[in-house]
């Protein structure tokens, strides 16, 4: 038993829904109580889908439990097949149905349906949403893919995009452009917009592009083993990763490594002098393993940030993220406990967070700007405009995303210069933000800036902030205050000082000047 307030991932059957909802001509019959239908709104509201997810919930009630939930399942299954005329169905149990052990798979098999019936094992009490999506897609591929000849032209499948994914819709478009520029045809994209017939054709491709390991890796591995299709290991998010990806595809296909970088703007945007202020910004990165790994590289190598911590909520990615953390010389936080993530961020006091919608809230509370780089996301993270993450256009989009929450170049200096100006002060937030800026004075917890700072001060070990120094610290703009405070305390501790005076503050500043 574990007490949870907010979760990064839903249960595994929600992952199965992400696959089913992404596909066409496929229906999901889910043995579940009525309340589980809430999951429809994730798709219709958050992602603004204009169709109901193709899911029939059996919605059994207490009074059915003693009698015939299995009969209810069969009747629902039959109704769904008649009404929606899918080309294949997937069947599974939600957490409650798992406990009553009706065996939807066995039941569906006895019904004599003429379409393929794909049973799912979705262990609700040990696994989560990403597992559910990965497993479901794998089972669909395993059941439907047919052995066949390769296409004449070199072609690939794109694996992993689902409904409710982070920017999946646009990533697929950008990925297709990238592949077209290299002369690679796209055989099938799946699950997004694929039909069961498309899935049957997947073995015709020469190789697979594994766009999202979280949701496509099991299928990719199975196709490699059974249909001899190699799959790409690099996820092309960021400039370096995109170049590596192109090289990887060239190696797999033997095609020339043609790089058309005419659309790529990130490098110059990053080199141009206005971006100098980005140098060494301390960022904390949290999300799914794939996006975190990509963003760690972008942050350090392409934006010139300092990565002060990384982590992921999906345990499946714990190993690669730990290895990466070692390479970056930081601690890896592998946790789906929102409070633990918050504590870590508070302790590290980064100047910016790259995270999920959860970290956006943490950022709001702590007064730290946050850019969203990974699922889970909310309705505002499904923009109307084209905004991919992968490929060269993705890199451009990411540059804008990471810069947006920050106070820009000269503005930062002006804030420092006029830090006592009652109108032009840091708590007003970046001037290009209007009402949505992080406002530490009006944060969700309702505490004033004053309250936030005070309790922080004496807590750290045995170092005490003297009045003058504390006052001076408050004058430092909020986006660098965390760093200043930490640096000063570290400096004081190293020097064996018990108190921090105004002088200590400036000595530390000089010590850390770069």
């Amino acid at each position: 038993m574990k007490l949870t307030v907010w979760t990064y991932e839903g249960p595994p059957h929600v992952g199965a829904m992400r696959v089913a909802t992404a596909m066409k001509d496929l229906h999901f019959v889910l043995h579940a109580p009525q309340g589980d239908t809430y999951a429809d709104l994730l798709f219709t509201m958050i992602e603004r889908r204009d169709h109901r997810p193709p899911v029939t919930y059996t919605t059994f009630q207490a009074r059915d439990l003693g009698s015939d939930t299995a009969g209810l399942f069969k009747a629902s299954c039959m109704d769904a097949v008649e009404r929606f005329e899918p080309k294949a169905i997937i069947v599974g149990s939600s957490c409650t149905a798992e406990l009553i052990q009706d065996d939807p798979a066995g039941l569906a098999e006895t019904m004599g349906l003429t379409i393929p019936v794909i049973p799912l094992e979705l262990p609700s009490y040990s696994r989560k949403e990403n597992f559910g999506a990965d497993e479901t897609f794998y089972q669909i591929v395993r059941h439907l893919a047919q052995p066949q000849d390769r296409t004449a032209q070199i072609s690939c499948n794109i694996l992993g995009p689902t409904a409710l994914g982070f920017r999946n819709r646009d990533d697929v478009v950008e990925m297709k452009t990238l592949l077209a520029e290299m002369g690679v045809a796209v055989n099938v994209v799946a699950p997004l917009n694929a039909t069961p017939d498309d899935v049957a054709r997947m073995p015709a491709a020469h190789f697979n592009v594994l766009l999202y390991p979280e949701t496509g890796e099991a299928a990719a591995r199975w196709l490699e083993k059974n249909h001899d299709q190699p799959f790409t290991k690099v996820v092309p998010i960021g400039v370096g990763a995109t170049r590596d990806f192109i090289a990887e595809v060239a190696a797999i296909t033997g095609l020339p490594c043609a790089l058309d970088e005419s659309r790529l703007r990130l490098p110059w945007w990053s080199k141009s002098v206005d971006s100098t202020y980005l140098t060494g910004k301390r960022v904390f990165i949290f999300g799914d393993g794939t996006h975190v790994a990509a963003h760690a590289r972008i942050a350090r190598d392409e934006m010139g940030f300092e990565v002060v911590g990384i982590g992921c909520y999906n345990r499946e990615m714990a190993r690669p993220v730990r290895a990466l953390a070692k390479e970056y010389g930081v601690e890896a936080l592998i946790s789906d406990d929102y409070l633990e993530v918050e504590e870590t961020i508070e302790a590290l006091a980064p100047e910016m967070i790259l995270g999920t919608q959860m970290e956006r809230h943490i950022g709001k509370r702590l007064g730290i700007p946050c850019a969203v780089i990974s699922a889970p996301v909310h309705v505002q993270d499904y923009p109307a405009r084209f905004s991919p993450q992968v490929g060269f256009e993705g890199a451009n989009v990411i540059f804008d995303t990471l810069v947006h929450p920050l106070v820009m170049g000269l503005e930062e200096h002006l804030l420092t210069m006029f830090r006592d100006d009652f109108e032009f002060h840091d708590a007003a937030g970046p001037s290009h933000h209007g009402g949505h800026s992080p406002l530490p004075t009006e944060d969700v917890s309702g505490g004033s800036l004053e309250d936030q700072i005070k309790p922080e001060l004496p807590q750290d070990g045995n170092v005490i902030w003297l009045m003058d120094a504390e006052k001076e610290l408050k004058k430092i703009p909020f986006f660098v205050r965390g760093k200043a405070k930490r640096n000063t305390e570290t400096y004081a501790q190293e020097k064996g000082l018990g108190e921090i005076s105004l002088d200590t503050l400036y000595e530390a500043k000089a010590h850390y000047a770069r």
Partner: protein
Amino acid sequence: MNDLSPPQGGGCRNAPVLKERGQREVFCGLTGIIWLHRKMQDAFFLVVGSRTCAHLLQSAAGVMIFAEPRFGTAILEETDLAGMADAHKELDREVARLLARRPDIRQLFLVGSCPSEVIKIDLARAAERLTQIHAPHVRVLNYSGSGIETTFTQGEDACLASMVPVLKDTQARELMLVGALPDVVEDQMVSLLSAMGVDNIRLLPARRIDDTTAIGPNTVFALTQPFLGDTHAELVRRGARHIAAPFPLGEEGTTAWLAAIAQEFGVSKETFDTVTAAPRARARKAIAQASEALQGKSIFFFPDSQLEIPLARFLTRECGMTALEVGSPYIHDAVHGPDLDLLAAGPQISEGQDVDLQLDRARAARADLTVCGLGLANPLEAEGLTTKWAIELVFTPIHFYEQAGDLASLFARPIRRKAALRLEAAE
């Protein structure tokens, strides 16, 4: 208008009800926690359930409540499913940890879910045990919000019903007002009644445990929400008497509801009129303005909160709409009867749901406004229908005179929006 007489051709109380039992597209009772935990400021709601339950609570709110919410889910894991004894020990541990961290919590609700009920974790026993451990500082109660037992607002019903048996006894003649309302609305309600000389008012739920209400044979009670059937039964069991009335939605409903109480307490007609005249006039004016877009329009209700029948009554009698179908998850005659009496015969009244069949009917009816859950709204909009999300109706102050205009606006807005947008390509 507003003579509160039943409609000419008779009301809907004896109209045939279409009862359906098929796939339902509704939330489970856990959802009520989202407003209940705001209402009871010293209460914590601990769901004993699965990751699905936690995900529902997170998703149904639409926005996340980040000033550390007073609810959480004790997620059952594989180890808990193995043996019962474990689950109780684990629960004790989690509760102890929680209460240590939140000394402001005075009442704890253990909320049952489908998984906890299927594996038969006895939360009543757990609540008794935990009350003993944590008394007197914390009172622990339990109720079911599970999807196999409760539909959406029935979660509040189950919660309030669980509070009735522990109310103290009294012989006093008191008025108990039952149902969670936003504080501002509650204050309006109480001040209207006080102005009529009706004092000795008790509220269920009270804002804090210290205001605890008592009950006895001289208690009369009025419901402010139409989904409180079980609470109604529990109160009657304790000897209290129900004042049946239409629900205080809209000017007419509010007047009828207040009038029923006034009559019970022998308030004179003059006093009643003096107190209500001004807010009634305001409400009428506000409704007249807000309902312009609604006049002559048709409406179709999917079942959701059990507010459907009183709302249909308001929209047809005060806003000039025509109801085509009024679906409610459950219909209790003792609770919904007075509103059904006033709702003119004509609409199909339906109870329960078979969502695909009902969607077929909604598509055939093509009402000017379709009231439905969040899962159906965008798909129906994409088919050209205009929709109103039902959940907004339980998250927004809509009761009593001062909110009557807002209530009409909630329904008018989608229709006004549709008229305002010019997005079709030129022919």
